[in-house]
């Protein structure tokens, strides 16, 4: 599984990254977590608002900090 966190480094994006990592740790799954900070890269995903979470190429959330429950649902699928 490949998880990408899109965001230009604002506090919200950092919280999102932390939530994703904690959700991964709690569900015991292994995944590659990358940050995408280049704005053109972000735009390529069709995402207008950050932070956004992309899992295996699919955009899961846009413009908000997803909570742990949501993230667990996505990664356990």
């Amino acid at each position: 599984m490949e998880i990408k966190i899109l965001g230009s480094g604002c506090p919200k994006c950092q919280t999102t990254e932390k939530n994703v990592k904690e959700a991964l740790a709690e569900s015991g799954l292994n995944a590659q977590v990358d940050k995408v900070t280049n704005v053109m890269e972000i735009a390529k995903y069709g995402v207008f608002l950050t932070p956004a979470v992309v899992i295996d190429g699919k955009v899961k959330s846009v413009g908000k900090i997803p909570d742990m429950e949501e993230i667990k649902m996505w990664i356990e699928q």
């Binding site: 965001g7 230009s8 280049n38 704005v39 972000i42 735009a43 390529k44 069709g46 995402v47 955009v59």
Partner: protein
Amino acid sequence: MKERIKLLIIVLIFLACYFIPWSNSTIRQSGLEAFMMLQEYAREHVLTCLIPAFFIAGAIAVFVSQASVLKYFGARAKKFLSYSVASVSGTVLAVCSCTVLPLFAGIYSRGAGIGPATAFLYSGPAINVLAIVLTARILGWQLGLARAIGAVLFAILTGLLMAFFFRKDDTARIAGQIYLPEEGDKGRTLTQEAFFMLTLVLILIFAAFAKPAEGSTGLWPIIFAVKWYITGGLLVVLGFMLKGWFVKDERVTWVQSTWGFMKQIFPLLGAGVLVAGFMLGRPGHSALIPEHYIQYLVGGNSLWANLFASVSGALMYFATLTEVPILQGLLGAGMGKGPALSLLLAGPALSLPNMLVIGSVMGVKKTATFCVIIVVMSTIAGMCYGAIVG
């Protein structure tokens, strides 16, 4: 924060402590001015102006549906709507430039194209609600109003000019899925939301209601005399609205987002006030930089003064809202009203670091054009404003 940067900061602070010549009387005076100015802000502006404004910014971030705004930036949106929405959406979408840049890149490369994208890029940081409120409060309502109107007009003009200059532009736009934040069912009518925002804005207006001049008659002193009763009444109304119309989650996110803005902006603003006080002093008091320098560079309303103000505004980086205390200091030290507006219009939208990112998105040529358009228009607006206000 990386450890190396922490070390660097500590070393810098140490060097400052070690070397600042506090025995020099000008330096002492400047240090005193810095804290006097900070105190003035703490006493006059924090409780009645900034705190309500933060709650409004928080409410806008949480309760205004971003998806409903963003859909006007899609590739198939009507051009007329894209421009009008882009020019005012800064009030709704952005408080700091870190949200503006990804949005700009998205609109530019996947959405409505260069015109609306640059219109938004300009309006985003320039007309957020906190900046306008604080400008009007501290620098006078004339300048606040001029800033708000100027920013909206500039956004549209910049967008149209960019679209005209680069009309043959063939940047391959990738048509594809655009992801917007989902629009949750909120269980409130638009009227209810409008009333809620109106109440917040009224609280801000009455709490920050300025003391009328001695001996003035009419409505103004009457309102001033009862302003705290009105504010109290409005707070009660607000309480009922919150209880009746919003669920607990929404209230929590509102407070969280308000708190987020405060954490982000207060330290920067405090530091900005200290620096402005140290360098320039409160209006009527001199500090480190002698007043005749300021008067020489940006005094009066000459072409040179306006141009200098807009170019330096374009290059300098102002953290959100810090442009206000800096301008307060400059105006107090003899800056003209026209150059002040030039700096306000060119300042927040552009900065050297910002230009680098914009350059990576749309290339050097377009970025240069964008900056030149803004500098030229700011200079002209400053001269007109200076001529009118005097």
